[in-house]
């Protein structure tokens, strides 16, 4: 397999943009009409994910170790969709047909051989990872045991799973609600693992968001959810031994609260500063619980901040500015979670303060969205 030839071939095909994944899925559904039911009605986001994953695979095709980690998690993640080995054959056929179609005269036997070899490798790694994962359920059936609206657009709910779902504090699971079939979204677990195995989730209603709307408005005690395997790398680095700074915007609090609970369970917890920001005081939906936690935890300081409510008596302003003012960011491991705009602004802010990039932990959901 010639890695450079493969990259050049992909670069030429990718020039056709959205037409490529469009052709691929149409080809797949024509050959296997039953596969259509595995996907949502609108395929726009799905096509982007496919192209994004393909681009990532091709760019790392000569870095097999690095690529394997990505492919393994992708393979494990696909178990919840009911993906089996035969599906990989079908996808391979359609992928090669798509590449051949868009390559035109460039589709030489050598290029075809490169792609066949590459796809066989990809499929093999994914299938193997899925197989190695078979001791775990493909997905977890969960039942809602409590659900409350903390603000007009924020719901906090607790589920119990039929089988235990092991995870690390700070990780997320993808979620499908029976009322919105085939729409999976990632949500962080908002608590450290408990004895009774229950999981908390914080969901903010996104204007027009397909799943967030259902999870805030339609979910009730007794509702059934499917949870995917835990993913994500925003986990607490206990080995560093340094004090921590946690920056949470809105429901981005969830993974950081799980990490705080984990820190609280340590024999000698490091000092922790949590900045919890929202636009209005109503958006500080979990502040009473956090204040209760800090009252009984001498190692924890909680600083609420509000950006859009003149006259608020506490910290006012955008969260990264409030954090920068506080000087609490020096010589600490930093964890940031919240809306993409906040995370990007925080990364830029810490960079301008001279904080080394490897001390700022953020979640990269880019790869793991199903």
């Amino acid at each position: 397999m010639d890695a450079q030839r493969l990259k050049d071939s992909f670069a030429r095909v990718a020039e056709y943009g959205d037409a490529v994944p469009l052709f691929f899925y149409s080809d797949l559904f024509l050959r296997h009409p039953e596969a259509r039911d595995l996907f949502p009605v609108s395929m726009a986001a799905q096509r982007d994910r496919l192209v994004s994953a393909l681009a990532r695979i091709v760019s790392d095709v000569d870095n097999v170790d690095y690529l394997s980690v990505f492919l393994q998690s992708l393979g494990r993640d696909h178990r919840k969709f009911g993906t089996v080995a035969e599906h990989y054959v079908a996808v391979g056929t359609s992928l090669l047909a798509t590449l051949a179609h868009f390559s035109g005269d460039d589709w030489t036997p050598e290029v075809a051989a490169d792609w066949t070899a590459a796809y066989d490798l990809i499929a093999q790694v994914m299938i193997q990872a899925a197989k190695d994962d078979e001791h775990r359920p493909a997905f977890w059936e969960a039942t809602v045991i409590s659900h409350e609206m903390r603000a007009h657009d924020v719901a906090v709910f607790r589920v119990s799973t039929e089988q235990p779902l092991p995870y690390l504090p700070g990780q997320s699971v993808s979620m499908e609600f029976a009322g919105r079939p085939r729409v999976w979204r990632l949500y962080s677990v908002a608590n450290a693992p408990r004895g009774d195995g229950t999981l908390d989730f914080h969901v903010r209603l996104i204007d027009g968001g397909a799943l967030s709307m259902a999870l805030t408005r339609k979910l009730a005690v007794g509702s059934r959810l499917k949870l995917g395997p835990p993913v994500g790398a925003l986990t607490f680095d206990a080995a560093s031994g340094r004090d921590v700074l946690l920056v949470a915007g809105s429901t981005g609090l969830a993974p950081l609260k799980a990490i705080l609970e984990q820190i609280g369970g340590l024999p000698s917890p490091p000092q922790a500063h949590l900045f919890f920001g929202a636009r209005t005081t109503e958006g500080l939906y979990d502040l009473p619980a956090l204040e209760k936690m800090s009252a009984r935890s001498p190692w924890l300081t909680v600083v609420p901040a509000v950006s859009g409510e003149p006259g608020y008596l506490g910290e006012c302003g955008q969260l990264p500015d409030v954090v920068a003012r506080s000087h609490a960011w020096q010589r600490r491991d930093i964890y940031v979670s919240g809306p993409t705009s906040l995370v990007a602004a925080a990364i830029a802010s810490f960079a301008s303060l001279g904080v080394p990039a490897d001390e700022v932990h953020v979640e990269d959901f880019c790869w793991s969205e199903p």
């Binding site: 990718a14 943009g17 959205d18 037409a19 149409s26 024509l30 955008q318 705009s341 830029a348």
Partner: protein, 222 residues
């Protein structure tokens, strides 16, 4: 969720529509969020149209190229290969999918706009209620403090020297009222005494008249 700062692959219409930007830092100038979103929406739609157009033009070029090749090689006859049918079917299905995508995107956009409007309205109502409540509170507070000031500065609450002055005046008035009561009582006593004397004098004079002569009716009637 589209993580705008870490992308892989080419930019698609969907990626343009769903891209989010970081807030500019405090004190720096930034663009209006809504303007940016509307513009990204337009760019996304335009891009979708252009890509679709580009695609069909490319198909057209391929078709014409094949026709030319066919004309050169096979005596002007357009020959279809068996896979051409499949490609056509793929293109028909693709167009149907794009239509479905557009409908879903429109519905989502509508729902998004509606929710956003509702949220804005709610914020407005809340802000209004907030400022009303604040105004009422301020008014009440102002009135209360005005009343307190009045009470402090007003004549109803005398200072120590004023009170002493008033007490002195009260004592003076009390003394004088005693004096006047005594005077009045003495005056009334004198008056009563006079009335008694007058009565006594009248009785004795009447008795004297009776002894002299009986009154005539004409005298009595007068």
């Amino acid at each position: 969720m589209t993580v705008s700062y870490r992308r892989h692959g080419p930019l698609s219409p969907e990626a343009v529509r769903s891209t989010t930007f970081a807030m500019s830092r405090f004190g720096r100038r930034g663009c209006d969020e809504e303007d940016v979103r509307v513009f990204c929406d337009q760019v996304g739609s335009e891009l979708a149209v252009l890509l679709s157009e580009k695609n069909s033009l490319r198909e057209e070029v391929n078709r014409l190229r094949k026709r030319m090749n066919g004309a050169d090689g096979k005596g002007g006859l357009l020959t279809y290969r068996p896979e051409d049918g499949h490609v056509q079917a793929v293109q028909i299905l693709s167009r149907a999918q794009q239509t479905a995508d557009r409908y879903v995107a429109d519905a989502q956009q509508y729902s998004h706009d509606l929710a956003k409007d509702a949220r804005r309205h709610r914020d407005q109502v809340l802000a209004e209620a907030h400022s009303n409540a604040k105004r009422v509170l301020e008014e009440v507070h102002q009135r209360a403090s005005q009343a307190a000031t009045d009470a402090l500065d007003g004549p109803d609450l005398p200072t120590v020297s004023k009170r002493q002055e008033l007490q002195a005046e009260l004592a003076y008035l009390r003394t004088y009222s005693d004096v006047y009561r005594t005077h009045l009582r003495a005056y009334l006593d004198a008056l009563l005494r006079n009335v008694d004397e007058w009565e006594k004098a009248e009785k004795s004079s009447v008795a004297l008249i009776r002894t002299e002569r009986p009154p005539r009716p004409s005298e009595l009637d007068l």
